[in-house]
């Protein structure tokens, strides 16, 4: 029993370790969006791609949407040709995973991602090692990971903390687009846990 547990832990930890690091090629995936349309990362080769893990029921997601922070970032980025893919890795039956909830969230929040992808099996979330909502990833035009981690440096659910925070995603996009080295390439994401399916 104990050995099995240790093996399991070793395996689980090895899988977490396989998640790409900044500088590594971003692994390809294909998912269907909330409107039934299929998207593949390979479709957007040569472009900046932002992956945003989302759960419409999570208060940390609401912190950045109710305040308009996330939508502003989406619009700014998309105006410069960035593809914004919001991903929901919540399993069926867990919080914020139904199509109705997602569609309601997108319209009430006036969210503007390029696409809202459904990953109910959690395959892409696990592939990238997404742990929280939100959890942010930036992929460069060369297909390599530029940034993974938190949206900003204020790990609280309080929208009042947004104005004083450093937005890591915004900074990394700007630095990378200006041809400068990205100062912060990784940070500890904060928020609710991604509501994956299955047992441990």
């Amino acid at each position: 029993m104990k050995t099995r547990l240790t093996l399991l832990l070793a395996f689980v930890s090895a899988t977490a370790f396989a998640a790409p690091q900044p500088g590594d090629p971003a692994p390809n995936f294909s998912l269907t969006d909330v409107n039934g349309q299929s998207h593949s990362l390979a479709d957007y080769k040569g472009k900046y791609v932002v992956l945003e893990w989302n759960n419409p029921g999570c208060p940390f997601v609401h912190k950045h949407y109710d305040s308009g922070n996330m939508q502003n970032l989406q619009k700014q980025a998309e105006s410069r040709g960035v593809i914004w893919l919001t991903v929901n890795s919540g399993a069926a039956g867990r919080q914020g995973a139904t199509t109705n909830e997602i569609k309601g969230f997108l319209s009430s929040e006036h969210a503007a991602p390029t696409a809202y992808l459904i990953d109910s099996e959690g395959k892409v979330g696990r592939l990238y090692g997404a742990r929280t909502t939100p959890d942010m990833y930036i992929i460069g035009p060369n297909g390599k990971l530029i940034y993974d981690g938190a949206i900003d440096n204020k790990p609280t659910p309080d929208p009042e903390d947004i104005p004083g925070a450093t937005n890591y995603v915004k900074a990394a996009l700007e630095e990378s687009m200006a041809g400068k080295p990205v100062e912060v390439t990784t940070s500890k994401p904060y928020g609710c846990s991604v509501k994956y399916g299955g047992t441990d």
């Binding site: 832990l9 940390f60 742990r131 609280t156 846990s193 509501k195």
Partner: protein
């Protein structure tokens, strides 16, 4: 999502003093998720004395809040104090959390139920008894089940200013303090190394099947999930560019009997003060192995020979050697090894006893035999026979044949007598936990059977080595004085010394037979509630080393002055009869027996001192606790 905050005033009567505490309920979709309130560990504020105020979060079943390092998701609870002028709040003292594994390889460190987060508050000396003080705080937390709801509340507590206060909420604070990591020198060694993309923590000095948990406090370092594979912990580093040598963390050691100890991992950079603390400090600074402990056992055994409680008995034997100096080397060799055999016999007997008790699921401690009045009574009789024999009274009292038998068994110079001398010398040695031996024994008592035997064997070897050397090289006996009439005098002097031991053991026996209630845990709790430095002296009437430490160090001028000057509260834990409560505390501090000294800082954090203390060690520990 609706989060509304309800206000519920709550009044608590404690003695004649009124303590007002404003508590708040976090209600989510009609369900109360968290009830937040402030609690004090005293009935009132004594001007200039610190007081501990705890934020209590009572969570609905199935919901949890987060630890200082929340893990992959979640956020730690935050308290922003709004204090009157002259007050100052310390950091949150986080009790050890539980590990929560969620699907998708998500690991969080949580409080799965109610939690009390204590904070020490310094108070100004200028307060006047009769005033009341209101302490306000803004608390913010995240409470999660399958989903997460942030909560926040303004909480407050109103306390009277009093000249002297009583402990309040005792059980809650005592239980919480038991879950706070201990500082000081833990009963294991910790070393970090970098292996590729991971930091590896190695804990030395643990039993092979020891179980422990590791709770990381990585600060700014991004880590994956620590994998505990005793005796190591593998901590993956998520940022390839990060170059930390180590991270902080909390280790929870779990003994087989279900008891556990919570230790703050010693800082990777050893501080001068810790290494100055002595033998156990050495243990914490490097890697260690079974051989290290065995070596420590050997040295400890050797030192046992000069411990106050063994010395009279050992003197007896040295005396025997002098007498034998004229005899044939072969006989000396044979007698010498018979004596050594006696030493080994007793230690292996002890080891066998410990192993069999452990197999039967009992907790054992060092010198346990001295806690039983029957054993002490038998020892009194045997030592009395020894003493009478030395004083020359023995022969007169007993009739010829019986005398010969007892004399041969107890004090004779033949093989049997020599063997029993070895046994008795060791028997007397056990209550004296010599330098080094304390930690080595603590280690051995928790170890599997072969290690227990190896450990006791090495102590026996250490203790008997001088005799073995003298037996092999009897020529060296000539450095000892020649036999003569002085021997009779010395014999009588030893007899008097031994009579002293008999009187002392008789006193121990009387103490043991006198009914008494153990008040130690309650005393400690009320002392800790006063937020001063607390010095706990774990002692026993039969522990001569304890008495020596008390006489030479604790009762000495400089130490007494420091106690007074720093307002140290002294608590005595009397283990004469092996009270289980005290045994549990000793185990918590990684000790198997007395002497043991623990210094608590005003915020309740314990530091364990070595068995043999000096004035400097005690004074250093006191000033560290004060800072």
């Amino acid at each position: 999502m609706i989060v509304s905050v309800m206000r519920l005033p709550k009044f608590v009567m404690a003695g004649l003093l009124l303590i007002g505490s404003l508590c708040h309920a976090q209600v989510y979709q009609g369900t109360q998720l968290v009830r937040a309130s402030l609690l004090a560990d005293q009935t009132g504020i004594v001007p200039g004395q610190p007081i501990t105020i705890g934020l209590e979060l009572q969570t609905a079943p199935g919901w949890h809040t987060y630890w200082e390092y929340p893990g992959d998701a979640g956020i730690p609870t935050r308290i922003d104090w709004k204090l009157p002028a002259g007050f100052a709040a310390g950091p949150i003292q986080w009790p050890v959390p539980a590990r929560d594994d969620e699907p998708g390889d998500i690991v969080n460190y949580i409080y799965p139920g109610d939690v009390l987060l204590p904070v020490e508050i310094q108070t100004p000396a200028g307060l006047k008894p009769g005033q009341t003080v209101t302490i306000n705080a803004h608390a913010a937390w995240l409470v999660c089940k399958d989903l997460c709801v942030p909560g926040k509340a303004d909480v407050s507590i109103t306390l009277p200013v009093v000249a002297a206060s009583q402990p309040a909420n005792g059980d809650l604070f005592t239980d919480t303090r038991a879950e706070l990591p201990m500082k000081g020198v833990p009963p294991f060694t910790a070393s970090w190394s970098r292996q590729g993309q991971a930091l590896v923590l190695h804990l030395g000095g643990l039993e092979p099947q020891a179980t422990f948990d590791f709770f990381p406090l990585p600060g700014d370092v991004q880590i994956g999930h620590p994998q505990v594979m005793p005796p190591t912990v593998n901590v993956p580093l998520l940022d390839a560019k990060a170059t930390p040598d180590s991270i902080d963390g909390v280790v929870v050691l779990r003994a087989r009997d279900g008891s556990s100890q919570v230790w703050q991992l010693p800082s990777a950079k050893p501080s001068a003060s810790i290494s100055a603390v002595g033998a156990r400090g050495v243990a914490s600074s490097g890697q260690s192995s079974l051989f290290y402990w065995l070596g420590l056992g050997f040295v400890g055994g050797l030192i046992l020979n000069v411990m106050p409680c063994v010395l009279p008995v050992i003197a007896l034997k040295i005396f025997g050697f002098i007498k034998q100096a004229g005899e044939s080397p072969r006989r000396i060799l044979a007698l010498g090894f018979t004596f050594v055999g006696g030493i080994f016999a007793w230690f292996f007997f002890l080891a066998a006893l410990i192993v069999s008790f452990k197999l039967a699921g009992h907790q054992l401690n060092w010198a346990f035999q001295f806690q039983h009045p029957a054993f002490v009574a038998v020892m009194v009789v045997i030592l009395l026979l020894f003493a009478l024999n030395l004083l020359g009274i023995f022969e007169i009292v007993l009739p010829g044949r019986l005398q010969a038998k007892v004399y041969d068994a107890a004090g004779g110079e033949g093989y049997a007598g020599t063997f029993w001398h070895g046994v008795f010398a060791t028997l007397m040695a056990t209550p004296c936990t010599a330098p080094f031996l304390g930690s080595a024994l603590g280690f051995a008592l928790a170890a599997p059977a072969p290690t227990v035997f190896a450990m006791f064997g090495s102590i026996a070897a250490g203790m008997s080595s001088p005799y073995a050397v003298l037996a092999i090289k009897p020529a060296w006996l000539r450095y000892l004085p020649k036999p003569g009439i002085w021997m009779v005098r010395v014999k009588q002097a030893l007899g008097v010394l031994l009579m002293g031991t008999v009187v002392w053991l008789g006193w121990v026996l009387v103490e043991q037979l006198t009914p008494r209630t153990d008040t130690f845990p309650a005393e400690l709790a009320s002392a800790l509630a006063k937020h001063q430095i607390v010095f706990v002296d774990f002692t026993a009437d039969w522990c001569v080393n304890c008495k020596v430490n008390e006489h030479l160090v604790l009762d000495s001028g400089p130490v007494q002055d420091a106690f007074k000057q720093k307002g140290v509260i002294l608590v005595k834990a009397d283990w004469t009869r092996g009270d289980e409560d005290i045994t549990a505390y000793l185990r918590k501090y990684g000790r198997a027996g007395v002497p043991c000294y623990v210094v608590f800082s005003p915020d309740g954090r314990p530091t364990v001192l070595p068995e043999v203390i000096t004035k400097d060690i005690v004074l250093d520990a006191l000033s560290q606790a004060a800072s």
